[in-house]
């Protein structure tokens, strides 16, 4: 269960797992497109983005394991926790649905993470994190550009694509609030100077989204209540099915080397 945070070390670990889990789950979602994308170029682009995110997750899990010092490996974190212990935000676990949903999800996420990593490079007191961030910053710039261009294309494309984009906005926008929510663990990591405060990134995110939406002829929806729960390990019902696949081999063949 998403247990109460006991110590400063626990808090940092937990805060890093939040970002790592975001990468793992979104990377997994992108990898589900493999072989099913709308065109060959997008097979490559989706795989690229998935690889970036999985790579970030790997580095972050390794760092978390080192910080924890209990010998947990990247695979222990990625494959051997309970659903309630994954602390990714809900946005990244939402199903791929169609290309509009997938690209909008990517835009929302990258528009947050690119400045997030950028600020981490500048300000984090943790050298390993700064290293991870420097690479991730560049990667997320590509995600942002690529997904932004697609959102514009689809938003200002055909009648059907515009309707699908609008539907995606309607579905997904209410998951963006969680990007800015600060869990108690995250608060400690911010206070310790390890990670940037999401609040400081809000203006940039707002502006990025507004700019893309303007070009895409999309309307920003009014959201009464932003969804939350992921950071407390309360995931939507797709998550369990995703994990059944993700964890299958590690669960079915425990303790083996692959």
């Amino acid at each position: 269960m998403a247990a109460a945070v006991a110590s400063a070390e626990d808090a940092v670990l937990r805060a890093i797992l939040e970002i790592a889990d975001d990468g793992l789950i979104l990377g997994h979602r992108l990898s589900e497109w493999c072989g099913h994308a709308p065109m060959l170029e997008e097979e490559l682009a989706l795989a690229n983005m998935g690889l970036d995110l999985l790579g970030q997750a790997r580095a972050l899990y390794a760092h978390a394991g080192a910080l924890e010092g209990k010998g947990r490996t990247e695979d222990d974190f990625a494959f051997l926790r309970r659903e309630r212990d994954y602390v990714n935000c809900l946005l990244v676990e939402r199903d791929n649905r169609d290309f509009a949903h997938t690209m909008l999800r990517q835009l929302y996420f990258a528009a947050f993470m690119q400045p997030f990593w950028h600020a981490t490079v500048q300000t984090s007191s943790d050298e390993t994190l700064r290293g991870i961030a420097a690479k991730a910053d560049k990667e997320m710039s590509y995600h942002l550009r690529h997904s932004g261009e697609w959102v514009i294309r689809m938003g200002d494309g055909t009648e059907e694509s515009a309707a699908r984009m609008a539907d995606a906005v309607n579905e997904l926008h209410r998951y963006t609030g969680e990007l800015f929510m600060v869990s108690p663990a995250r608060q400690q990591a911010i206070a310790a100077g390890l990670l940037p405060d999401p609040e400081s990134l809000r203006d940039e995110w707002d502006e990025t989204i507004a700019t893309v939406f303007r070009a895409a002829k999309l309307e920003l929806p009014e959201i009464r209540t932003m969804q939350k729960g992921g950071r407390d390990g309360i995931h939507g019902e797709d998550m369990g099915h995703l994990l059944a696949e993700l964890q299958f081999m590690q669960r079915a063949y425990p303790g083996q080397t692959w």
């Binding site: 709308p38 065109m39 795989a47 695979d75 694509s161 081999m249 080397t257």
Partner: protein
């Protein structure tokens, strides 16, 4: 007549034929068919391996597998481009794949029920592919030869990766070793079939040899593959599922058991376990992606100054 002779002379001098060079219609047709089939094989080949991306047993393997399948998509891209230099569009080739008119390698019509299949495909299927493809790096048609150089480099990386998966399993638990052996049992014969019918049965081969599209016969390549692979299997401690397989001192090659050509033909005709599922998956992706492609076109028309999507994705 005169032209054909001159063309053959160029080929014989190992000059590369380039897109704008005059070439016999048969040469062009043969290349279009072969490059198209090769491209389709890369694309369809993404599916059996893609089946394990969401279930890969470690982060390292997950990333490597996703990257590998991505490479295959990339190979598809180069190959379609090479075929386009011969005046056939990617749309046209895609149509032929989706309608079932064009062929792709039958090996991808077998399912991947276990993780060891990912190892076996890398080791055997990519291994056999490389055997076929290395000579193509010297193919008389320039764009194809150049595409194959890049493809071969990546394939040989994939092959080593596959072998390493097999090695990990073969050195793993009893159950993992059994899984590896089972995969070898299932992939061995289909891999041998990848080289095509016996030379005595093979059509089109002679002309392709003359034109230096092909440089070795099916049986020669198959034999090379067996010779390379048997010691690898021995090193893994796995048994090749062919009781008739033995070293022949006289021929300095392995004798092997009879290939089940009836199965080969059935799978080619579309009756393999996965043929219909493969085509269905490709058709589904294509059909469900139609609105995306239309949107991209419509948007590009609206903003004529936009750069083409293909270029951007490649960045």
């Amino acid at each position: 007549e005169e032209f054909l002779k001159a063309f053959q002379a160029r080929v014989d001098r190992e000059e590369k034929i380039e897109p704008n060079d005059p070439m016999p219609e048969g040469y062009r047709r043969t290349l279009v068919r072969q490059i198209g089939q090769h491209a389709h094989s890369e694309i369809v080949g993404m599916l059996p391996e893609g089946n394990w991306i969401t279930r890969a047993p470690s982060l390292r393997r997950k990333i490597a597998l996703l990257a590998k399948v991505q490479d295959e998509g990339g190979h598809g891209l180069y190959l379609y481009s090479a075929a386009e230099t011969l005046g056939v569009s990617r749309e046209q080739m895609t149509e032929e794949l989706l309608s079932g008119k064009a062929k792709y390698s039958s090996i991808f019509n077998y399912p991947t029920p276990t993780w060891a299949d990912i190892g076996a495909i890398g080791w055997l299927v990519d291994g056999a592919a490389i055997m076929n493809q290395i000579p193509l790096c010297r193919c008389s048609y320039g764009p194809y030869a150049r595409a194959m150089i890049r493809v071969c480099k990546e394939e040989s990386f994939h092959q080593r990766q596959g072998y390493e998966i097999m090695m990990t399993l073969a050195k793993g638990s009893e159950e993992q070793k059994e899984m590896a052996q089972d995969a070898l049992n299932r992939w061995w014969w289909p891999s041998l079939m990848m080289f095509g019918p016996s030379d005595s049965e093979s059509t089109n081969s002679d002309q392709s040899m003359m034109w230096k599209i092909k440089r070795f016969s099916n049986d020669e390549l198959r034999q090379k593959f067996i010779t390379a692979t048997v010691p690898q299997a021995e090193y893994l401690g796995l048994t090749i599922p062919d009781p008739d397989l033995r070293w022949n001192e006289k021929t300095q090659a392995y004798d092997h058991g009879e290939i089940d050509w009836a199965e080969f033909k059935a799978v080619i005709k579309g009756d393999g376990q996965m043929n219909r599922d493969r085509l269905r998956a490709r058709n589904k992706a294509w059909d469900e992606g139609a609105w995306v492609r239309e949107a991209a076109l419509a948007h590009a028309r609206k903003r004529a100054d936009m750069k083409p999507i293909a270029q951007e994705a490649a960045e």
